[in-house]
Amino acid sequence: MAAVVAVENLNPKVLKCEYAVRGEIVIHAQRLQQQLQTQPGSLPFDEILYCNIGNPQSLGQQPVTFFREVLALCDHPCLLEKEETKSLFSADAISRAKKILASIPGRATGAYSHSQGIKGLRDAIAAGIASRDGFPANADDIFLTDGASPGVHMMMQLLIRNEKDGILVPIPQYPLYSASIALHGGALVPYYLDESTGWGLEISDLKKQLEDARSKGIDVRALVVINPGNPTGQVLAEDNQRDIVKFCKNEGLVLLADEVYQENIYVDNKKFNSFKKIARSVGYGEEDLPLVSFQSVSKGYYGECGKRGGYMEITGFSAPVREQIYKIASVNLCSNITGQILASLVMNPPKAGDESYASYKAERDGILQSLARRAKALEDAFNNLEGFTCNKAEGAMYLFPQIHLPPKAIEAAKAAKKAPDAFYALRLLESTGIVVVPGSGFGQVPGTWHIRCTILPQEDKIPAVITRFKAFHEAFMAEYRD
């Protein structure tokens, strides 16, 4: 009896999609990790170092104390009635928790909320957006989601009707976009970021790709921009952003602005500008540009990946369309409440004058400055490796060096039936325990090879990581050099 649910008869869109961040190499790493547990000493390294995924707290980054205080009090509100609580929690965490609980109907943190998220929390987020941008934001435009990713899926679902609907996506990109487009049966229309100019975005290339796609009968519906970039780390210049906004308006595209790394900026000559702020500042109102802006609690200095908190801010959409978005959100009832609370804290952290401000600021600055130092240390280390060229990480959490491999290595990769970067990454893993993601997982100019490595191992581990990597690389090149 043929099994119903066999690979041959699964949804082909499921079969087609890929997600390298937790793909083949990571699965192999997990097997090696188990081997280290059952047979210690059987491998040339003591531990697996996961540099494949932007998961800061798994590598020792500490959560922001104020945020956890508020969350714990909201999880177990009985604490607010106990005398001892005053000596264990800061006064402003207590008052924030009380304020949040008062905004939740029945103070019931265990209840399904409004499908867009708790109104009081959305008000706080809207206020935070307005304060960040200098332009007003509306709580009704905000949809709280289990991380930013479900919001991206919702928009792809809405926009993609069939395989002729295209979405412009940067190459290299965070592979949620390619996976989501594949899952929803659409067409990915690539536009290439320019490695030689620090991963610059050229409007002329955007226009060329758009026209190319249209000439092939693709109805291009939206433009994805990731700013700061993942895996590329570049922070867009303001005039670049203005050009993008005008391009979308002129071409009738929805702008999908992935801004989850907005708090991760490591260079003094660049700052984060939200696309909403840019659009409003060039005089574009709601009627001019449909824009969806995504934010998350997983990145920044808070790194709360496991909470699955995030939101999308939707502007420039008609009421009937907003109803459809609401409807889709309602099928899942609501996002998790802890994540919602955290999103409101991230967009409204302690301010100067608050009791917790000094310690909050110290934690925040400490983490961001450390990330900046690690980004530089690893960038320099990669640039010192033979055949490696690495652009600066202006922001985000990753380095994406290009690896120029000798012909013999490329041959060996072919013989092993692997892409050269996957071959390199596998050898790196097996020699050092360091897990990176091959560039093919993100897209790259054909014929070029890259790896994506996070900057997240704790600072005191970085020298050892560099040493091990260097030793491996020198041995690899010695093996395959002409």
């Binding site: 649910v5 997600y19 205080e69 926009l159 899952l183």
Partner: protein, 459 residues
């Protein structure tokens, strides 16, 4: 300028086709009235804490400690939290490197999945493999993942009970598949009618539909009926003969209000039946922390367990799960505590038992009250709520009411529910939201304090 991509006309048709009445027209009208200051009782969705049910103390203590591990370092923590909550928090923090703030394994924390497997083994008497248990942000996400994997095109059909929880119809719409209905028999206490089921399948096949899976909701939503062991055996035989996968939504397994038909899992019955069925029938079972006596809807904690799925299929399901990175970690901890609650001898055990019993006994009383309340209304017939959280009475409206509804451009049950809402503030869901036989007009309601008001309005 031509049509814009996000103009209504340019949206994905599958999205436009979706209906989810639980938070649809009635709910939106109720929310409007609430904003205007009217007191509204929301009985449209199984959301116990929103209606005053208190969370169980122990899991909240555990999660609060995991959320703020600095508390564990404080010498006074023993004054604020019982020792077993402290120990359990440390247990979960040890299982989750990086604590609550790190993405876990995309399938969920291995140690928690092991606790789920152990729970299943205790419940059913058969071993369960943690590798085949995936934690999800609520059971709904798991249902969506499985349906997405199953539905290739509009010719793929899924057998769904009518009435059903409209997640199934919504998901099938979204994924572009075909819903193949099978009608539960209201006169037989919402029982299964295999003649009808076979007819539905034959009819669908004659239209070129490939029926791929069957959904059962046990205990039923909105109907509340509990399936007997014989029922489930027959279902499994049917799936085996017809080559269907079985999707067993068992989220209400803790909500049983009668003693004749205790909960028995589809998996247990499958294994009791032995080979060849026990090795062949493909089964996916769903559970959650949102229902039962826990009611922790807002945490979004759930799991699905796969039985007899080929490894390559499991790999594909893993791949899709990995795109979402991981289910939320606090929800996973709630799941761990739910399947592995305080035991006799634990400090928190007496309080945990008292709290749980109180909730379940109250639900049982309310199930009786609501059924009796509805049955005392003229022209209302209501089956007893054997399980779950809902009453699904049938209301036989007089012809004049049906006329009035038509003039107002509304289905009769929507018309009735809107009138009920305006008069009493009770927000329900019209039966059309769940599917019903033509001509029946049952609304859904789950709160006891309005049992008294309902008959008054009805007259």
């Amino acid at each position: 300028m031509a049509r814009k991509p996000l103009d209504y006309e340019e949206l994905n048709e599958n999205v436009k086709k979706v209906q989810y009445a639980v938070r649809g027209e009635l709910y939106l009208r109720a929310s409007e009235l609430q904003k205007e200051g009217k007191k509204i009782i929301f009985t449209n969705v199984g959301n116990p804490h929103a209606l005053g049910q208190k969370p169980l103390t122990f899991p909240r203590q555990v999660v609060a400690l995991c959320q703020a591990p600095f508390l564990l370092d404080d010498p006074n923590v023993g004054l604020m939290f019982p020792a077993d909550a402290i120990a359990r928090a440390k247990h979960y923090l040890a299982l989750a490197p990086g604590g609550l703030g790190a993405y876990s394994d995309s399938r969920g924390i291995p140690g928690v999945r092991k606790e789920v497997a152990e729970f299943i083994e205790r419940r059913d008497g058969y071993p369960s493999d943690p590798e085949l248990i995936y934690l999800t942000d609520g059971a709904s996400k798991g249902v969506m993942q499985m349906l997405n994997a199953l539905i290739r095109n509009e010719r793929d059909g899924i057998l769904v009970p009518v009435p059903q929880y409209p997640l199934y119809s919504a998901a099938i719409s979204l994924f572009g598949g075909s819903l193949v209905p099978y009608y539960l028999e209201e006169e037989a206490n919402w029982g299964l009618d295999f003649v009808n089921i076979r007819q539905s399948v034959a009819e669908a096949r004659s239209r070129g539909i490939t029926v791929r899976a069957m959904v059962i909701i046990n205990p039923g939503n909105p109907t509340g009926q509990c399936l007997s062991e014989a029922n489930i055996k027959e279902l499994l035989q049917f799936c085996y003969q017809e080559n269907l996968a079985l999707l067993a939504d068992e989220v209400y397994q803790q909500n049983i209000y009668q003693d004749q038909r205790p909960f028995i899992s589809a998996r247990k019955v499958l294994f009791d039946m032995g080979p060849p069925l026990s090795r062949e029938v493909q089964l996916v079972s769903f559970h959650t922390v949102s229902k039962g006596y826990w009611g922790e809807c807002g945490q979004r904690g759930g799991y699905f367990e796969m039985t007899n799925l080929p490894p390559k299929t499991v790999d594909e399901i893993y791949k899709v799960a990995s795109i979402a990175l991981s289910p939320n970690v606090p929800g996973q901890i709630f799941m761990g505590v739910m399947v592995n609650p305080p035991k006799p001898g634990d400090i928190s055990y007496p309080k945990f038992v008292t709290e749980s019993k109180a909730i379940l006994e109250s639900l049982r009383r309310r199930a009786r009250m609501m059924t009796d309340g509805f049955n005392s209304c003229r022209n209302v017939v209501c089956n007893f709520t054997e399980g779950a959280m809902y009453s699904f009475p049938q209301i036989r409206l007089p012809p004049r009411a049906i006329e009035a509804a038509k003039r107002a451009g509304k289905a009769p049950d929507v018309f009735y529910c809107l009138k009920l809402l305006e008069a009493t503030g009770i927000s329900t869901v019209p039966g059309s939201g769940f599917g019903q036989k033509e001509g029946g007009v049952p609304p859904e309601d789950d709160h006891p304090s309005c049992g008294g008001r309902l008959p008054g309005h009805h007259v």
